[in-house]
Each structure stands twice: as structure tokens, then as C-alpha cells.
């Protein structure tokens, strides 16, 4: 997963080079945005808790709230356009939207078409334990322990690697996150592996438990390659939101205290 971090850094470096060479005065998209004073977000509203529609058809979710504060930070009015996930990046290329947001992960293969922003959230898989401390190196700490995972999940994939390496671990496979939490609570397993949002929910319900990233998957926004200035403005606004505490507060509101700080897997 560290490759993802390096990929992000490489992207930022490449972006800096592009800024230095691109004839920014020809940035028609940014001029258009300034003229209309709106920032149009392409959203797939089928990714709760990141982006969704409520019963009245109103947009909501962590990503949608982030889009609103981002637009405000840029002095613009946010507008949302419902787009299926497959079309999110393409919608910015054909100028049906300015920015795509909806639990998007940086895709190196698409960097010729779009800019990706710096990450604003780390998804992935987390270790959870009712014990007070998860010691490092984590693999050593896991030896001799019973690990519970959801059958077929990414956590299951991870523990199958441990089993294949014939490490001294016992694996319990259950069919839901609720069962996973119950297995930990009843002491049948000492550690669990769960998706980050489920893990944060479990930690909220069991505040004395601990958790840490096992794998990180950074979420980013995308905007059209034809507009380096828009990308630049998004980066400036995101940085400001992070430093001012607005973005950490938003993460805490949606996912709990542990989510407020961006962190990568050890």
C-alpha cells in the first residue's frame, strides 16, 4: 500500500512540472467557472456514507459535505450532478462537471485524462483489538493469536496470506461485521480485520478498543486535465481546509476521533 503513497507524491511532483510549463492563460474551464461562480461536482450518490441521496432527493454524505466546504473555500457555489461511477472521470473530460468526487481512488492509468487531488480520506482495512495496544511489528504481534474476519473480505485475503506462509495464527471466518464484533466482544478472537468504516463504527461502540490501518487506500477528487488552474485551486483549498481543522473536524463528525487524522499503513 505504500506504493499508493509514492504514487500520490509522484503525481504531485508531476503536477508541479506541468504548472511550470502549461500556458495557464488559455485555461478556458477555469475562466468559465469564474464567470458562472459555480463549481459543478459529478457525484455517484450510491456510496454511503460518502455520497448518497436522502428520501427527499437531497445530496448528503462525507464527500458531499466536503464538496460544499471546498466550493465555499474557493468562493464558489457548489452544484451537484448525478453521474454513475463509471462516468465520473469522463464527465469532467467532456465538461459535464468540473470536479468528480465519490470515494474515488487515484488511478495511475487515468492520469493522462484527469488531475487527481491530494488524498482527503484513507479507506482500506483496519486491525481492531479489544486489547489496549497493538504492538509493532504487527505481524509478530499477531503470532499465536486468533483472528476473526468476514468470509471473502479483504481481511480474509490478508489472513489467507498469513496461513499460506504457515504463520502461527488461528483464523475464524464469519459472515457479517456484526458477527465479527460479537466474536471479539466475547473473547473468541483477540483481533479482527475489517473495512475502515466498519472498524470506525466498532471503535465508536467500544471506545476502549484499539485499531490501526492494515492497508490504506487514499480517496481523492478528479478534475479535467484541460484545467491546471482548477486543479491548483482545489489543492490550495484542500490544504487550507486541512490546516484550518475544517477537514479533520468533518472526518471526525462522520467517522469518529480516530479518523480525524490522515494516516498511512505501517
Amino acid at each position: 500500500m505504500k506504493q499508493s503513497v509514492f504514487a500520490v507524491l509522484a503525481m504531485l511532483a508531476a503536477t508541479a512540472v506541468i504548472f511550470a510549463t502549461f500556458p495557464v492563460e488559455e485555461d478556458a474551464i477555469w475562466l468559465d467557472i469564474q464567470n458562472r461562480q459555480t463549481l459543478v461536482f459529478a457525484v455517484d450518490a450510491t456510496f454511503p456514507p460518502f455520497s448518497a441521496l436522502d428520501g427527499n432527493g437531497n445530496y448528503g454524505g462525507f464527500d458531499v459535505e466536503l464538496a460544499r466546504v471546498l466550493a465555499k473555500e474557493m468562493g464558489l457555489t457548489p452544484q451537484f450532478r448525478l453521474v454513475s461511477f463509471d462516468s465520473l472521470l469522463g464527465a469532467t473530460v467532456v465538461r459535464q462537471a468540473d470536479v468528480a468526487i465519490s470515494a474515488i481512488v487515484l488511478q495511475p492509468a487515468r492520469t493522462e485524462e484527469v488531475y487527481f487531488s491530494t488524498p482527503y480520506f484513507n479507506a482500506g482495512t483496519r486491525l481492531i483489538s479489544p486489547q489496549q495496544q497493538i504492538e509493532r511489528p504487527v505481524v509478530d504481534w499477531l503470532l499465536g493469536k486468533t483472528i476473526v474476519v468476514e468470509l471473502g473480505s479483504q481481511g480474509d485475503v490478508i489472513v489467507r496470506r498469513l496461513e499460506k506462509a504457515q504463520l502461527d495464527v488461528t483464523v475464524l471466518r464469519v459472515s457479517s461485521v456484526m458477527e465479527l464484533e460479537k466474536t471479539l466482544a466475547t473473547g473468541q478472537a483477540e483481533v479482527g480485520l475489517a473495512d475502515v468504516v466498519a472498524a470506525f463504527e466498532i471503535i465508536k461502540a467500544n471506545p476502549t478498543w484499539t485499531s490501526t490501518h492494515a492497508e490504506t487506500v487514499p480517496y481523492v477528487m478528479a478534475s479535467a486535465k484541460q484545467s491546471p488552474l482548477l486543479h491548483q485551486e482545489i489543492e490550495v483549498a484542500l490544504t487550507q481546509l486541512e490546516e484550518s481543522g475544517v477537514l479533520p473536524d468533518l472526518r471526525q463528525k462522520w467517522f469518529g476521533t480516530e479518523a480525524s487524522v490522515l494516516s498511512f499503513a505501517p
Binding site: 481512488v105 471473502g152 457479517s176
Partner: protein
């Protein structure tokens, strides 16, 4: 360095040999995967992917063969990529259902139009009517070249989505016109080829939506426009979308058995004598996607869908589940459709399907 590069590329490729012809060992002949070798570079990875398909007990694959990869410049055909996939699949005893799409840049514009100097402003699903004949000529060249190895082709993909129609307003009548010309091309190249048409995306898009058209509305308008004359087998996309495989279909919702509503339409328009093939299907186990299910349920529903089709749908041939393996991770919900990871690590669902195909 130049010397090393000059020698290493062809040498690496030459080290991959086809080996002895193989047979798929399976008890479930309708199990099929939609592979995604489109962007796979190394021959050894194509070979490894298709070996895993065979070892899973799947008799067929749907694979995407981009027109743009072969005819990047008009009239100049380079078959290197498709030759490798088709030869290796053939050697593994796997039937290939070839889906043909991706419009080359030159074909996105009529001969009278000019391609913008700063690059194409049309996506690779934009085919103007003036280029239908060029698409048909390519299909003809494809079916002719692979006669004896490719028996099935799918023309176009999900034409009821704006995304798949060059971000234009979708148009069932115009799509049939394109199919009519392309179908003739396929038969010119190989009169025995079985052409799969339809492949509409399951969607409930409301009237006037810029994103696409309701699948059954689109298909019905296609039939009225003469669709029946442009295909031999109906291609159906039928995803589970979080529902169990055996839930009855409903015009107001999407689920696996929506295939039965499509079949009803087919019969109503006098095409009941033809077979269907589910060329895209499957369940997703993304933790967030509203239409996903949990990973354990995904395994149960996927296996249930193969068995349900075998038990109840005599009119259907294969159930091809999306997507066997991607060359690289998308880091999105797409990844939660896969059976094998990009690094060839079989995922838990792969082992479950493999066990299923070996049971009587």
C-alpha cells in the same frame, strides 16, 4: 542499456510457448468469466490468467478486443495483441466470446470533419454514422482472421448508456442501423459466426435522462426498428445488485432474474427460437456501494446464479461473471467484482467457484 532493452523485449516474449492443448475439466458447462486482458501487456500474464480460468472450470470467456488497438491508423492492422489472447485461450480449450468496441481516434470523426489539433474531444465510444461501414469492415477482418478459433462476437456494449454512446443522447433506432451494417460485416468475414447483439445495461433511467435509457424501453424500440435481423444470440447483462439470485424479477427494480423480462420481450417480438447468453453478471462486495452485498453472500449468490440458470433457463447458454481479473487494481468498487487479484492471488470466491465446478 539500449542493447539490453533491444534484446530483452523479444526474448521475454519468445520464452512464452503455448505448450500442449488443454481441456477444461468441469461439471458445470455454463460457467463463464468476463476476463479483462485488454490492457495486459506481458504474454506470460495472459497465459497465467487463462490457465487460472481453465483451472476454475470455466468453459468460456468474454474478452474485450479494442478496435483502436488493432487499427490505430485507418487501414493499417496490427493483430499482435488479439492474436496472443485468442491463441492462448484456444490452447487452453476455452471458448472466446469476442466483444468488439473502442473506436480509434480517426473513426470518431467523419472524413469531412477535422480532428482537433489538441487531441480528440470525443470519447472512444463515439462512432458517427459516416463511420459505420469502417466498423463493419473491421468486424469483417476480425471474423475472417479468427475463423476456426472465434465462433461468437458481441457487437458494441451497453448502447443505452450515454457513456457508451459517446456521451450523446442514446438512440435505439440509430443503434440498430449501426448493428445492421456491422452484422453484415461479421457474416462477410465468416458466414458461420454467431453474432451476439443487445448487451443493454440494466437500468431504470427515467424518460429524458441525459445518462441513458431504461433498458426494456431501449430494447423494445430496438426490436421495433428491426433488431431481430441483426443478431443470432441475445446478449444480456444481468447483475445481482445486492439481491439474491432467485428473487423474482420486477419491472421497477433490477436483479439477476431481470434476464427473464428481457427474455419475455424477445419472445414477444418473435425471437423466442434464439438463445441468450448472460455476458455480464455478478455480485459486488464493496463495503460502501449501495448495490453491493457482503463478501460471504457474494460467494453464495454467484454460485447460486450459475445453478439457477442451469436449472431454469433452458434458453440460455453461458453465465459470464464480471470480472475475472484486472491487470491492475482500480482501488474502487470495481475491484470487488474480481475473482483473482492483479498479482494472480486467487481470492476466496475463486476457490469457491472452483469447488463448485468440480462437483457433479
Amino acid at each position: 542499456m539500449i542493447v539490453v532493452l533491444a534484446y530483452s523485449w523479444p526474448l521475454t516474449d519468445k520464452l512464452v510457448t503455448l505448450g500442449e492443448p488443454q481441456l477444461v475439466q468441469t461439471q458445470k458447462s455454463n460457467v463463464c468469466f468476463h476476463t479483462r486482458l485488454t490492457d495486459e501487456v506481458e504474454t506470460v500474464k495472459i497465459q497465467q490468467t487463462l490457465s487460472l480460468v481453465r483451472e476454475a472450470g470455466a468453459t468460456a470467456i468474454v474478452e474485450y478486443f479494442p478496435w483502436a488497438y488493432v487499427e490505430g491508423a485507418q487501414g493499417q492492422l496490427n493483430w499482435y495483441h488479439s492474436d496472443r489472447i485468442i491463441d492462448i485461450a484456444h490452447q487452453n480449450g476455452i471458448e472466446v466470446i469476442a466483444r468488439i468496441g473502442v473506436v480509434p481516434t480517426w473513426a470518431r470523426y467523419a472524413a469531412t470533419e477535422t480532428i482537433p489539433a489538441d487531441g480528440s474531444d470525443r470519447t472512444d465510444t463515439y462512432l458517427p454514422p459516416e463511420r459505420y461501414a469502417d466498423y463493419a469492415n473491421y468486424i469483417e477482418a476480425f471474423t475472417s482472421r479468427y475463423q476456426g478459433k472465434i465462433n461468437y462476437v458481441i457487437l458494441w456494449n451497453e448502447p443505452n448508456l450515454a457513456l457508451e454512446w459517446g456521451f450523446r443522447q442514446v438512440d435505439p433506432e440509430e443503434h440498430v442501423e449501426m448493428l445492421r451494417i456491422a452484422y453484415a460485416g461479421a457474416k462477410r468475414g465468416n458466414p458461420e459466426i454467431q453474432v451476439l447483439g443487445g448487451a443493454v445495461a440494466p437500468t431504470l433511467e427515467p424518460v429524458g435522462s441525459p445518462n441513458g435509457m431504461h433498458d426494456l424501453t431501449f430494447l423494445e424500440r430496438m426490436y421495433i426498428a428491426g433488431f431481430a435481423e441483426t443478431y443470432d444470440i441475445l446478449s444480456i447483462h444481468s447483475y445481482g445488485l445486492g439481491q439474491a439470485h432467485n428473487i423474482a424479477p420486477d419491472t421497477a427494480g433490477l436483479n439477476y432474474r431481470r434476464a427473464e423480462l428481457v427474455r419475455d420481450l424477445m419472445v414477444r417480438y418473435g425471437d423466442g427460437h434464439k438463445q441468450t447468453a448472460i455476458t455480464e453478471s455478478g455480485w459486488n462486495d464493496s463495503p460502501y456501494w449501495l448495490h453491493a452485498t457482503n463478501p460471504a453472500d457474494r460467494i453464495a449468490q454467484t454460485i447460486g446464479s450459475y445453478q439457477y440458470a442451469a436449472d431454469h433457463w433452458a434458453w440460455n447458454t453461458w453465465v459470464c461473471t464480471w470480472a475475472f481479473r484486472y491487470p491492475q487494481r482500480y482501488y474502487s468498487y470495481f475491484d470487488q467484482y474480481a475473482f483473482v487479484a492483479p498479482d494472480f492471488e486467487p481470492l476466496p470466491i475463486y476457490s469457491a467457484v472452483q469447488n463448485y465446478t468440480q462437483q457433479p
